[in-house]
Protein backbone atom coordinates (compact mmCIF):
# COMPACT_ATOMS: atom_id res chain seq x y z
CA UNK A 1 0.00 0.00 0.00
CA UNK A 2 1.21 3.49 -0.86
CA UNK A 3 2.77 5.37 2.03
CA UNK A 4 1.39 8.90 2.24
CA UNK A 5 3.28 10.04 5.34
CA UNK A 6 6.44 8.51 6.74
CA UNK A 7 8.04 9.98 9.83
CA UNK A 8 11.29 8.66 11.25
CA UNK A 9 12.94 9.62 14.55
CA UNK A 10 11.31 13.03 14.51
CA UNK A 11 12.58 15.46 17.13
CA UNK A 12 11.94 19.08 17.98
CA UNK A 13 13.36 21.13 20.79
CA UNK A 14 12.76 24.74 21.76
CA UNK A 15 15.86 25.79 23.64
CA UNK A 16 16.32 23.24 26.39
CA UNK A 17 12.72 22.02 26.16
CA UNK A 18 12.32 18.86 24.11
CA UNK A 19 8.76 18.99 22.73
CA UNK A 20 9.13 15.96 20.48
CA UNK A 21 11.78 13.38 21.35
CA UNK A 22 11.14 10.45 19.02
CA UNK A 23 8.12 10.05 16.79
CA UNK A 24 7.86 7.34 14.15
CA UNK A 25 4.73 6.84 12.11
CA UNK A 26 3.40 5.67 8.78
CA UNK A 27 0.14 6.72 7.18
CA UNK A 28 -1.09 4.75 4.17
CA UNK A 29 -3.34 5.85 1.31
CA UNK A 30 -7.00 5.81 2.32
CA UNK A 31 -6.24 5.67 6.04
CA UNK A 32 -8.09 7.67 8.61
CA UNK A 33 -5.16 7.82 10.95
CA UNK A 34 -5.84 8.72 14.54
CA UNK A 35 -3.11 10.78 16.16
CA UNK A 36 -3.75 10.43 19.84
CA UNK A 37 -2.07 11.81 22.90
CA UNK A 38 -2.89 13.65 26.09
CA UNK A 39 -2.64 17.44 26.14
CA UNK A 40 0.98 18.52 25.82
CA UNK A 41 2.10 15.21 24.31
CA UNK A 42 3.52 16.92 21.21
CA UNK A 43 0.65 16.37 18.75
CA UNK A 44 0.41 19.96 17.52
CA UNK A 45 4.20 20.30 17.32
CA UNK A 46 4.33 17.16 15.18
CA UNK A 47 1.50 18.42 12.96
CA UNK A 48 3.28 21.75 12.58
CA UNK A 49 6.35 19.84 11.39
CA UNK A 50 4.20 17.82 8.97
CA UNK A 51 2.81 21.02 7.46
CA UNK A 52 6.12 22.85 7.30
CA UNK A 53 5.24 25.47 9.90
CA UNK A 54 8.23 24.51 12.01
CA UNK A 55 11.43 22.75 11.16
CA UNK A 56 12.38 19.50 12.90
CA UNK A 57 15.53 19.53 15.02
CA UNK A 58 16.26 16.00 13.80
CA UNK A 59 14.60 13.17 11.92
CA UNK A 60 12.86 12.95 8.57
CA UNK A 61 9.38 13.66 7.25
CA UNK A 62 8.35 12.29 3.87
CA UNK A 63 4.97 13.03 2.35
CA UNK A 64 3.85 11.34 -0.88
CA UNK A 65 7.29 9.73 -0.90
CA UNK A 66 9.09 13.08 -1.06
CA UNK A 67 11.13 14.74 1.68
CA UNK A 68 9.01 17.61 2.99
CA UNK A 69 11.90 19.97 3.47
CA UNK A 70 12.89 19.93 -0.21
CA UNK A 71 9.45 19.63 -1.84
CA UNK A 72 7.30 21.66 0.51
CA UNK A 73 5.35 23.64 -2.09
CA UNK A 74 4.70 20.63 -4.27
CA UNK A 75 3.57 18.55 -1.28
CA UNK A 76 1.37 21.27 0.22
CA UNK A 77 -0.47 21.61 -3.10
CA UNK A 78 -1.90 18.15 -2.36
CA UNK A 79 -2.54 18.74 1.34
CA UNK A 80 -5.35 20.48 3.17
CA UNK A 81 -4.73 21.26 6.82
CA UNK A 82 -6.22 22.84 9.87
CA UNK A 83 -3.55 23.37 12.51
CA UNK A 84 -4.90 23.95 16.02
CA UNK A 85 -7.89 26.11 15.08
CA UNK A 86 -8.92 27.64 11.78
CA UNK A 87 -8.29 31.39 11.88
CA UNK A 88 -9.49 33.47 8.99
CA UNK A 89 -9.59 37.14 8.04
CA UNK A 90 -12.32 38.25 10.41
CA UNK A 91 -12.96 41.48 8.52
CA UNK A 92 -13.95 39.56 5.37
CA UNK A 93 -16.95 37.40 4.60
CA UNK A 94 -16.63 33.61 4.75
CA UNK A 95 -17.04 33.40 0.99
CA UNK A 96 -14.39 36.06 0.35
CA UNK A 97 -12.01 34.16 2.63
CA UNK A 98 -12.45 31.02 0.56
CA UNK A 99 -12.01 32.95 -2.70
CA UNK A 100 -8.77 34.49 -1.39
CA UNK A 101 -7.38 31.16 -0.19
CA UNK A 102 -8.28 29.57 -3.53
CA UNK A 103 -6.31 32.31 -5.31
CA UNK A 104 -3.39 31.84 -2.94
CA UNK A 105 -3.41 28.12 -3.75
CA UNK A 106 -3.34 29.05 -7.41
CA UNK A 107 -6.47 27.03 -8.11
CA UNK A 108 -9.28 28.38 -10.20
CA UNK A 109 -12.29 27.54 -8.07
CA UNK A 110 -15.61 28.40 -9.73
CA UNK A 111 -18.39 29.98 -7.67
CA UNK A 112 -20.41 26.78 -8.05
CA UNK A 113 -17.70 24.79 -6.25
CA UNK A 114 -17.56 27.34 -3.42
CA UNK A 115 -21.34 27.15 -3.00
CA UNK A 116 -21.03 23.37 -3.02
CA UNK A 117 -18.39 23.48 -0.26
CA UNK A 118 -20.64 25.66 1.91
CA UNK A 119 -23.34 23.09 1.35
CA UNK A 120 -21.06 20.16 2.26
CA UNK A 121 -20.02 21.76 5.57
CA UNK A 122 -23.54 22.92 6.40
CA UNK A 123 -22.94 26.66 6.15
CA UNK A 124 -25.29 27.31 3.29
CA UNK A 125 -26.91 30.74 3.56
CA UNK A 126 -24.13 32.11 5.79
CA UNK A 127 -21.44 32.60 3.15
CA UNK A 128 -21.91 36.37 2.93
CA UNK A 129 -21.59 36.87 6.70
CA UNK A 130 -18.36 38.30 8.12
CA UNK A 131 -16.20 35.62 9.73
CA UNK A 132 -16.09 37.67 12.94
CA UNK A 133 -19.79 36.90 13.38
CA UNK A 134 -19.14 33.15 13.18
CA UNK A 135 -19.22 30.87 16.22
CA UNK A 136 -16.32 28.51 16.95
CA UNK A 137 -18.23 25.60 15.44
CA UNK A 138 -18.97 27.54 12.28
CA UNK A 139 -15.29 28.48 11.97
CA UNK A 140 -14.38 24.78 12.27
CA UNK A 141 -16.80 24.00 9.44
CA UNK A 142 -15.43 26.85 7.37
CA UNK A 143 -11.96 25.48 8.12
CA UNK A 144 -12.95 22.16 6.60
CA UNK A 145 -14.41 23.94 3.55
CA UNK A 146 -11.09 25.77 3.18
CA UNK A 147 -9.23 22.46 3.48
CA UNK A 148 -11.24 21.01 0.60
CA UNK A 149 -10.69 23.98 -1.72
CA UNK A 150 -7.81 22.45 -3.67
CA UNK A 151 -9.29 18.93 -3.60
CA UNK A 152 -6.38 17.58 -1.49
CA UNK A 153 -5.30 13.95 -1.33
CA UNK A 154 -4.21 14.28 2.28
CA UNK A 155 -6.22 16.08 4.94
CA UNK A 156 -4.69 16.96 8.29
CA UNK A 157 -7.12 17.95 11.02
CA UNK A 158 -5.81 19.01 14.40
CA UNK A 159 -8.45 18.39 17.07
CA UNK A 160 -11.32 19.46 14.80
CA UNK A 161 -14.03 18.76 17.39
CA UNK A 162 -12.53 20.85 20.20
CA UNK A 163 -15.06 23.28 21.61
CA UNK A 164 -17.97 21.94 19.59
CA UNK A 165 -21.39 21.04 20.97
CA UNK A 166 -22.50 17.38 20.69
CA UNK A 167 -24.35 17.95 17.42
CA UNK A 168 -21.30 19.79 16.03
CA UNK A 169 -19.09 16.84 16.96
CA UNK A 170 -21.44 14.41 15.19
CA UNK A 171 -21.57 16.64 12.10
CA UNK A 172 -17.77 16.87 11.89
CA UNK A 173 -17.49 13.12 12.43
CA UNK A 174 -19.96 12.49 9.59
CA UNK A 175 -18.05 14.93 7.43
CA UNK A 176 -14.78 13.07 8.07
CA UNK A 177 -16.47 9.77 7.21
CA UNK A 178 -17.80 11.35 4.02
CA UNK A 179 -14.28 12.53 3.11
CA UNK A 180 -12.90 9.07 3.74
CA UNK A 181 -15.51 7.61 1.44
CA UNK A 182 -14.27 10.08 -1.18
CA UNK A 183 -10.89 8.33 -0.99
CA UNK A 184 -9.06 11.00 0.99
CA UNK A 185 -6.31 10.09 3.40
CA UNK A 186 -6.97 11.73 6.74
CA UNK A 187 -4.72 12.39 9.69
CA UNK A 188 -6.85 13.28 12.66
CA UNK A 189 -5.38 14.40 15.94
CA UNK A 190 -7.32 14.15 19.16
CA UNK A 191 -6.93 13.64 22.88
CA UNK A 192 -10.15 11.63 23.03
CA UNK A 193 -9.69 7.90 22.43
CA UNK A 194 -13.38 7.20 21.78
CA UNK A 195 -13.40 9.80 19.01
CA UNK A 196 -10.47 8.15 17.26
CA UNK A 197 -12.02 4.73 17.75
CA UNK A 198 -15.22 5.84 16.04
CA UNK A 199 -13.58 7.34 12.98
CA UNK A 200 -10.10 5.87 12.45
CA UNK A 201 -8.84 2.59 11.06
CA UNK A 202 -5.25 3.07 12.25
CA UNK A 203 -3.85 5.04 15.13
CA UNK A 204 -0.81 6.11 17.06
CA UNK A 205 -0.56 7.09 20.70
CA UNK A 206 2.16 9.50 21.65
CA UNK A 207 3.19 10.72 25.07
CA UNK A 208 5.91 13.14 26.14
CA UNK A 209 6.94 13.53 22.52
CA UNK A 210 7.44 9.82 21.90
CA UNK A 211 5.57 7.09 20.07
CA UNK A 212 3.95 4.78 22.61
CA UNK A 213 2.17 2.44 20.23
CA UNK A 214 1.05 2.39 16.60
CA UNK A 215 -1.22 -0.04 14.78
CA UNK A 216 -4.72 -0.80 13.59
CA UNK A 217 -7.56 0.40 15.81
CA UNK A 218 -9.22 -3.03 15.93
CA UNK A 219 -6.00 -4.69 17.08
CA UNK A 220 -5.06 -2.04 19.60
CA UNK A 221 -8.55 -1.81 21.05
CA UNK A 222 -9.11 -5.55 21.08
CA UNK A 223 -11.72 -6.93 23.48
CA UNK A 224 -9.82 -10.19 24.16
CA UNK A 225 -8.61 -9.17 27.62
CA UNK A 226 -10.73 -6.47 29.17
CA UNK A 227 -10.10 -4.82 32.51
CA UNK A 228 -13.36 -5.69 34.27
CA UNK A 229 -14.47 -4.10 37.53
CA UNK A 230 -17.30 -5.76 39.48
CA UNK A 231 -18.92 -3.89 42.34
CA UNK A 232 -20.17 -6.66 44.64
CA UNK A 233 -21.36 -6.85 48.30
CA UNK A 234 -18.86 -9.55 49.37
CA UNK A 235 -15.72 -9.14 47.24
CA UNK A 236 -13.61 -11.71 49.19
CA UNK A 237 -16.25 -14.38 48.74
CA UNK A 238 -16.66 -13.46 45.09
CA UNK A 239 -12.90 -13.78 44.56
CA UNK A 240 -12.85 -17.23 46.20
CA UNK A 241 -15.74 -18.33 44.04
CA UNK A 242 -14.08 -17.17 40.85
CA UNK A 243 -10.74 -18.75 41.79
CA UNK A 244 -12.50 -22.09 42.11
CA UNK A 245 -14.16 -21.73 38.72
CA UNK A 246 -12.87 -21.73 35.14
CA UNK A 247 -11.72 -18.14 35.74
CA UNK A 248 -9.02 -19.32 38.16
CA UNK A 249 -6.31 -18.27 35.74
CA UNK A 250 -7.64 -14.74 35.35
CA UNK A 251 -5.67 -12.17 37.32
CA UNK A 252 -8.06 -11.22 40.14
CA UNK A 253 -7.61 -8.57 42.83
CA UNK A 254 -9.75 -6.68 45.33
CA UNK A 255 -9.92 -2.89 45.32
CA UNK A 256 -12.21 -1.72 48.14
CA UNK A 257 -15.64 -3.18 47.43
CA UNK A 258 -14.70 -3.87 43.82
CA UNK A 259 -13.28 -6.94 42.27
CA UNK A 260 -10.90 -6.43 39.38
CA UNK A 261 -10.03 -9.08 36.82
CA UNK A 262 -8.90 -9.42 33.21
CA UNK A 263 -11.21 -11.54 31.05
CA UNK A 264 -12.55 -11.49 27.47
CA UNK A 265 -15.81 -9.62 26.86
CA UNK A 266 -17.69 -12.87 26.13
CA UNK A 267 -16.99 -14.17 29.67
CA UNK A 268 -18.52 -11.22 31.52
CA UNK A 269 -22.06 -12.65 31.38
CA UNK A 270 -20.86 -16.00 32.76
CA UNK A 271 -19.10 -14.32 35.69
CA UNK A 272 -22.25 -12.35 36.46
CA UNK A 273 -24.33 -15.54 36.35
CA UNK A 274 -21.88 -17.36 38.66
CA UNK A 275 -21.99 -14.59 41.27
CA UNK A 276 -25.78 -14.32 41.11
CA UNK A 277 -26.17 -18.09 41.56
CA UNK A 278 -24.04 -17.82 44.73
CA UNK A 279 -26.53 -15.19 46.03
CA UNK A 280 -24.00 -12.37 45.83
CA UNK A 281 -25.35 -8.90 45.08
CA UNK A 282 -23.73 -7.44 41.95
CA UNK A 283 -24.27 -3.67 41.85
CA UNK A 284 -22.28 -2.78 38.77
CA UNK A 285 -20.05 -4.34 36.15
CA UNK A 286 -17.88 -2.06 34.06
CA UNK A 287 -15.00 -2.74 31.72
CA UNK A 288 -12.22 -0.98 29.89
CA UNK A 289 -9.88 -2.18 27.20
CA UNK A 290 -6.21 -2.30 28.27
CA UNK A 291 -5.25 0.55 25.93
CA UNK A 292 -8.18 2.60 27.16
CA UNK A 293 -7.05 2.09 30.77
CA UNK A 294 -3.51 2.94 29.79
CA UNK A 295 -4.59 6.09 27.95
CA UNK A 296 -6.77 7.22 30.84
CA UNK A 297 -3.77 6.76 33.13
CA UNK A 298 -1.66 8.85 30.76
CA UNK A 299 -4.26 11.59 30.62
CA UNK A 300 -4.65 11.51 34.39
CA UNK A 301 -0.89 11.72 34.96
CA UNK A 302 -0.64 14.69 32.64
CA UNK A 303 -3.26 16.71 34.51
Amino acid sequence: MEKIIEVNNLQKSFGSFQAVTNINMQVFAGDCYGFLGPNGAGKSTTIRMLTGLIKPSAGTVSVFGLPLHHHKTNILSKVGAIVEKPDFYNYLSAEKNLVLFARICGCNVPQKRIDELFDVVGLNGRQKDLVKSYSHGMKQRLGIAQVLLNNPQLIILDEPTTGLDPQGIIDIRNLINYLRQQGKTILLSSHILSEIELISNRMIIINKGQTVIEGSVTELLSEKALHVTIDVNKPEMAMQLLQQSKFALAQIEIDGTALKLNIPKDDIAQVNKLLAQANLDVFEISFKRPLESYFLKLTHNNK
Binding site: Y89, I104, G106
Partner: protein
Protein backbone atom coordinates in the same frame (compact mmCIF):
# COMPACT_ATOMS: atom_id res chain seq x y z
CA UNK B 1 0.90 32.50 -8.70
CA UNK B 2 2.94 35.35 -7.19
CA UNK B 3 0.77 37.96 -8.89
CA UNK B 4 -2.31 36.31 -7.35
CA UNK B 5 -0.67 36.44 -3.95
CA UNK B 6 0.28 40.10 -4.42
CA UNK B 7 -3.26 41.03 -5.46
CA UNK B 8 -4.62 39.18 -2.42
CA UNK B 9 -2.27 41.13 -0.14
CA UNK B 10 -3.28 44.46 -1.70
CA UNK B 11 -6.94 43.48 -1.37
CA UNK B 12 -6.43 42.65 2.32
CA UNK B 13 -4.86 46.06 2.94
CA UNK B 14 -7.78 47.73 1.15
CA UNK B 15 -10.30 45.88 3.30
CA UNK B 16 -8.73 46.77 6.66
CA UNK B 17 -10.29 49.83 8.31
CA UNK B 18 -6.91 50.96 9.70
CA UNK B 19 -5.61 51.48 6.16
CA UNK B 20 -7.88 54.51 5.82
CA UNK B 21 -6.77 56.28 9.00
CA UNK B 22 -3.75 57.72 7.16
CA UNK B 23 -5.89 59.08 4.33
CA UNK B 24 -8.38 60.62 6.75
CA UNK B 25 -5.59 62.20 8.86
CA UNK B 26 -3.71 63.61 5.86
CA UNK B 27 -6.90 64.86 4.24
CA UNK B 28 -8.08 66.53 7.45
CA UNK B 29 -4.75 68.21 8.23
CA UNK B 30 -4.28 69.44 4.65
CA UNK B 31 -7.83 70.78 4.59
CA UNK B 32 -7.31 72.62 7.89
CA UNK B 33 -4.11 74.22 6.61
CA UNK B 34 -5.81 75.23 3.35
CA UNK B 35 -8.69 76.84 5.28
CA UNK B 36 -6.29 78.56 7.69
CA UNK B 37 -4.16 79.91 4.85
CA UNK B 38 -7.21 81.03 2.91
CA UNK B 39 -8.60 82.93 5.88
CA UNK B 40 -5.45 84.16 7.56
CA UNK B 41 -2.61 83.42 5.16
CA UNK B 42 -1.68 87.01 4.36
CA UNK B 43 -1.23 87.90 8.04
CA UNK B 44 0.86 84.75 8.52
CA UNK B 45 3.07 85.58 5.52
CA UNK B 46 3.58 89.20 6.57
CA UNK B 47 4.52 88.06 10.08
CA UNK B 48 7.17 85.73 8.62
CA UNK B 49 8.47 88.29 6.11
CA UNK B 50 8.26 91.30 8.48
CA UNK B 51 12.00 91.50 9.04
CA UNK B 52 12.69 91.03 5.31
CA UNK B 53 10.38 93.86 4.31
CA UNK B 54 12.69 96.30 6.10
CA UNK B 55 15.50 95.46 3.64
CA UNK B 56 13.59 94.22 0.55
CA UNK B 57 10.61 95.35 -1.43
CA UNK B 58 8.54 92.20 -1.86
CA UNK B 59 6.04 92.31 -4.73
CA UNK B 60 3.71 89.77 -6.29
CA UNK B 61 1.71 86.88 -4.88
CA UNK B 62 3.83 85.15 -2.26
CA UNK B 63 0.84 83.28 -0.83
CA UNK B 64 0.43 80.83 -3.69
CA UNK B 65 -0.11 77.11 -4.18
CA UNK B 66 3.60 76.33 -4.17
CA UNK B 67 4.17 77.97 -0.80
CA UNK B 68 1.10 76.36 0.80
CA UNK B 69 2.15 72.96 -0.53
CA UNK B 70 5.68 73.48 0.83
CA UNK B 71 4.26 74.41 4.26
CA UNK B 72 1.98 71.36 4.30
CA UNK B 73 4.85 69.09 3.33
CA UNK B 74 7.09 70.50 6.08
CA UNK B 75 4.39 69.82 8.63
CA UNK B 76 3.08 66.48 7.39
CA UNK B 77 6.16 64.65 6.25
CA UNK B 78 7.19 64.16 9.90
CA UNK B 79 3.91 62.45 10.73
CA UNK B 80 3.41 60.38 7.61
CA UNK B 81 5.91 57.70 8.80
CA UNK B 82 3.61 56.96 11.74
CA UNK B 83 0.67 56.58 9.38
CA UNK B 84 2.70 54.29 7.13
CA UNK B 85 4.00 52.19 10.04
CA UNK B 86 0.44 51.72 11.31
CA UNK B 87 -0.30 49.63 8.23
CA UNK B 88 3.05 48.14 7.25
CA UNK B 89 3.98 47.24 10.84
CA UNK B 90 0.85 45.11 10.93
CA UNK B 91 1.38 43.23 7.68
CA UNK B 92 3.06 40.17 9.17
CA UNK B 93 2.49 40.53 12.90
CA UNK B 94 -1.22 41.23 12.44
CA UNK B 95 -1.62 37.91 10.69
CA UNK B 96 0.47 36.20 13.34
CA UNK B 97 -1.70 37.68 16.08
CA UNK B 98 -4.94 36.69 14.39
CA UNK B 99 -3.66 33.20 13.54
CA UNK B 100 -4.27 33.52 9.81
CA UNK B 101 -0.51 33.39 9.18
CA UNK B 102 -0.64 29.73 10.20
CA UNK B 103 -3.23 29.05 7.53
CA UNK B 104 -1.33 31.09 4.95
CA UNK B 105 1.93 29.26 5.64
CA UNK B 106 0.34 25.86 5.06
CA UNK B 107 -0.62 26.84 1.51
CA UNK B 108 1.53 25.80 -1.47
CA UNK B 109 3.56 29.00 -1.54
CA UNK B 110 7.09 29.63 -0.37
CA UNK B 111 7.93 31.75 2.64
CA UNK B 112 9.86 34.10 0.34
CA UNK B 113 6.72 34.61 -1.74
CA UNK B 114 4.79 35.53 1.40
CA UNK B 115 7.45 38.05 2.44
CA UNK B 116 7.84 39.57 -1.03
CA UNK B 117 4.11 39.88 -1.70
CA UNK B 118 3.46 41.54 1.64
CA UNK B 119 6.43 43.86 1.27
CA UNK B 120 5.45 44.96 -2.24
CA UNK B 121 1.85 45.44 -1.10
CA UNK B 122 3.18 47.61 1.75
CA UNK B 123 5.24 49.67 -0.71
CA UNK B 124 2.18 50.08 -2.93
CA UNK B 125 0.17 51.34 0.05
CA UNK B 126 2.94 53.80 0.93
CA UNK B 127 3.04 55.08 -2.64
CA UNK B 128 -0.73 55.55 -2.77
CA UNK B 129 -0.66 57.38 0.58
CA UNK B 130 2.09 59.68 -0.71
CA UNK B 131 0.23 60.29 -3.98
CA UNK B 132 -2.80 61.20 -1.91
CA UNK B 133 -0.64 63.60 0.07
CA UNK B 134 0.55 65.11 -3.22
CA UNK B 135 -3.00 65.55 -4.44
CA UNK B 136 -4.36 67.15 -1.27
CA UNK B 137 -1.31 69.36 -0.74
CA UNK B 138 0.08 70.30 -4.16
CA UNK B 139 -2.99 69.72 -6.33
CA UNK B 140 -5.48 71.33 -3.97
CA UNK B 141 -3.12 74.24 -3.15
CA UNK B 142 -2.70 74.96 -6.86
CA UNK B 143 -6.43 74.85 -7.35
CA UNK B 144 -7.18 77.17 -4.39
CA UNK B 145 -4.23 79.57 -4.36
CA UNK B 146 -2.90 79.40 -7.93
CA UNK B 147 0.73 79.33 -9.04
CA UNK B 148 3.58 81.72 -8.25
CA UNK B 149 7.21 81.99 -7.24
CA UNK B 150 8.20 80.05 -4.15
CA UNK B 151 9.94 81.87 -1.34
CA UNK B 152 11.80 79.48 0.96
CA UNK B 153 13.12 80.93 4.18
CA UNK B 154 16.23 79.30 5.58
CA UNK B 155 17.80 80.18 8.92
CA UNK B 156 20.65 81.92 7.13
CA UNK B 157 19.29 82.63 3.67
CA UNK B 158 16.33 83.34 1.47
CA UNK B 159 15.71 81.21 -1.64
CA UNK B 160 13.39 82.48 -4.32
CA UNK B 161 12.44 79.92 -6.94
CA UNK B 162 10.74 80.95 -10.19
CA UNK B 163 7.27 79.49 -10.78
CA UNK B 164 8.38 77.72 -13.97
CA UNK B 165 11.33 76.13 -12.12
CA UNK B 166 9.28 74.58 -9.31
CA UNK B 167 7.19 71.72 -10.69
CA UNK B 168 10.12 69.38 -11.33
CA UNK B 169 11.45 70.15 -7.85
CA UNK B 170 8.18 69.06 -6.26
CA UNK B 171 8.16 65.85 -8.35
CA UNK B 172 11.76 65.10 -7.34
CA UNK B 173 11.02 65.97 -3.70
CA UNK B 174 8.04 63.60 -3.64
CA UNK B 175 10.20 60.86 -5.17
CA UNK B 176 12.87 61.27 -2.51
CA UNK B 177 10.19 61.46 0.18
CA UNK B 178 8.88 58.15 -1.17
CA UNK B 179 12.32 56.61 -0.76
CA UNK B 180 12.32 57.82 2.87
CA UNK B 181 8.91 56.28 3.43
CA UNK B 182 10.07 53.06 1.75
CA UNK B 183 12.64 52.92 4.49
CA UNK B 184 9.92 53.26 7.14
CA UNK B 185 7.96 50.56 5.34
CA UNK B 186 10.93 48.19 5.33
CA UNK B 187 11.84 48.95 8.96
CA UNK B 188 8.32 48.42 10.31
CA UNK B 189 7.90 45.36 8.07
CA UNK B 190 11.13 43.86 9.39
CA UNK B 191 10.01 44.43 12.98
CA UNK B 192 6.65 42.94 12.04
CA UNK B 193 8.40 39.72 10.96
CA UNK B 194 9.92 39.41 14.42
CA UNK B 195 6.72 40.10 16.33
CA UNK B 196 3.47 38.29 17.01
CA UNK B 197 1.47 41.35 17.96
CA UNK B 198 0.67 44.28 15.73
CA UNK B 199 1.24 47.13 18.19
CA UNK B 200 4.88 46.25 18.96
CA UNK B 201 6.36 46.91 15.50
CA UNK B 202 4.46 50.22 15.13
CA UNK B 203 5.63 51.55 18.49
CA UNK B 204 9.17 50.25 17.98
CA UNK B 205 9.39 51.92 14.55
CA UNK B 206 8.38 55.25 16.03
CA UNK B 207 10.69 54.77 19.02
CA UNK B 208 13.64 54.14 16.69
CA UNK B 209 12.73 57.21 14.64
CA UNK B 210 12.47 59.41 17.73
CA UNK B 211 15.73 58.07 19.16
CA UNK B 212 17.66 58.61 15.91
CA UNK B 213 16.12 62.06 15.42
CA UNK B 214 17.27 63.06 18.93
CA UNK B 215 20.77 61.74 18.22
CA UNK B 216 20.82 63.72 14.95
CA UNK B 217 19.76 66.93 16.67
CA UNK B 218 22.28 66.67 19.54
CA UNK B 219 25.47 68.60 18.89
CA UNK B 220 27.70 66.10 20.67
CA UNK B 221 31.01 65.06 19.18
CA UNK B 222 30.46 61.43 20.13
CA UNK B 223 27.53 61.20 17.72
CA UNK B 224 29.15 63.08 14.85
CA UNK B 225 30.69 59.95 13.35
CA UNK B 226 27.42 57.99 13.32
CA UNK B 227 25.06 60.78 12.24
CA UNK B 228 25.83 60.46 8.49
CA UNK B 229 24.83 56.77 8.69
CA UNK B 230 21.55 57.24 10.55
CA UNK B 231 18.59 57.13 8.21
CA UNK B 232 16.86 59.97 10.04
CA UNK B 233 19.64 62.29 8.86
CA UNK B 234 18.52 61.64 5.29
CA UNK B 235 14.76 61.47 5.70
CA UNK B 236 14.30 65.20 5.18
CA UNK B 237 16.69 65.38 2.23
CA UNK B 238 13.75 66.13 -0.09
CA UNK B 239 14.11 69.73 1.12
CA UNK B 240 17.45 69.93 -0.69
CA UNK B 241 15.52 70.14 -3.95
CA UNK B 242 14.34 73.60 -2.87
CA UNK B 243 17.88 74.97 -2.52
CA UNK B 244 19.54 77.06 -5.16
CA UNK B 245 21.92 75.77 -6.37
CA UNK B 246 20.95 72.16 -5.60
CA UNK B 247 23.61 70.19 -3.73
CA UNK B 248 23.51 67.02 -5.81
CA UNK B 249 26.28 65.15 -3.95
CA UNK B 250 24.30 65.50 -0.73
CA UNK B 251 21.14 64.22 -2.40
CA UNK B 252 22.95 61.30 -4.01
CA UNK B 253 24.53 60.41 -0.68
CA UNK B 254 21.10 60.41 0.97
CA UNK B 255 19.68 58.19 -1.77
CA UNK B 256 22.61 55.82 -1.30
CA UNK B 257 22.14 55.58 2.48
CA UNK B 258 18.36 55.19 2.23
CA UNK B 259 18.60 52.45 -0.42
CA UNK B 260 21.17 50.57 1.67
CA UNK B 261 18.81 50.65 4.65
CA UNK B 262 15.81 49.50 2.61
CA UNK B 263 17.77 46.57 1.13
CA UNK B 264 19.21 45.67 4.53
CA UNK B 265 15.87 45.71 6.35
CA UNK B 266 14.15 43.74 3.60
CA UNK B 267 17.01 41.22 3.51
CA UNK B 268 16.75 40.67 7.26
CA UNK B 269 12.97 40.20 6.95
CA UNK B 270 13.42 37.62 4.21
CA UNK B 271 16.18 35.76 6.05
CA UNK B 272 14.37 35.70 9.39
CA UNK B 273 10.93 34.71 8.07
CA UNK B 274 12.38 31.86 6.02
CA UNK B 275 13.92 30.39 9.15
CA UNK B 276 11.18 31.24 11.58
CA UNK B 277 9.14 28.57 13.36
CA UNK B 278 5.51 29.58 13.11
CA UNK B 279 4.22 28.80 16.57
CA UNK B 280 1.24 31.14 16.85
Amino acid sequence: MFLNLLLVEIYKICMKPRSYIGFIAIGAIAMLIHIAMWLDGRAYISMVTQSLEQSFNIEGNILNGNLVCFIILQMLIIHVPLLVAMVTGDLMSGEAASGSLRLLATKPITRSQIVCSKFIAGLAYTLILLLFLAIVSWGAAYFIFGSGDLVVLRSDSLVILQADDINWRFVAAFMLAYLSLMLITSLSFMLSCFSNNSIGPIITTMAIMILFTIICSLEIQLFDSIKPWLFTTHMASWRLFFDNPIEWPKILNSIYILVIHVVLFFGISLYHFNRKDILV
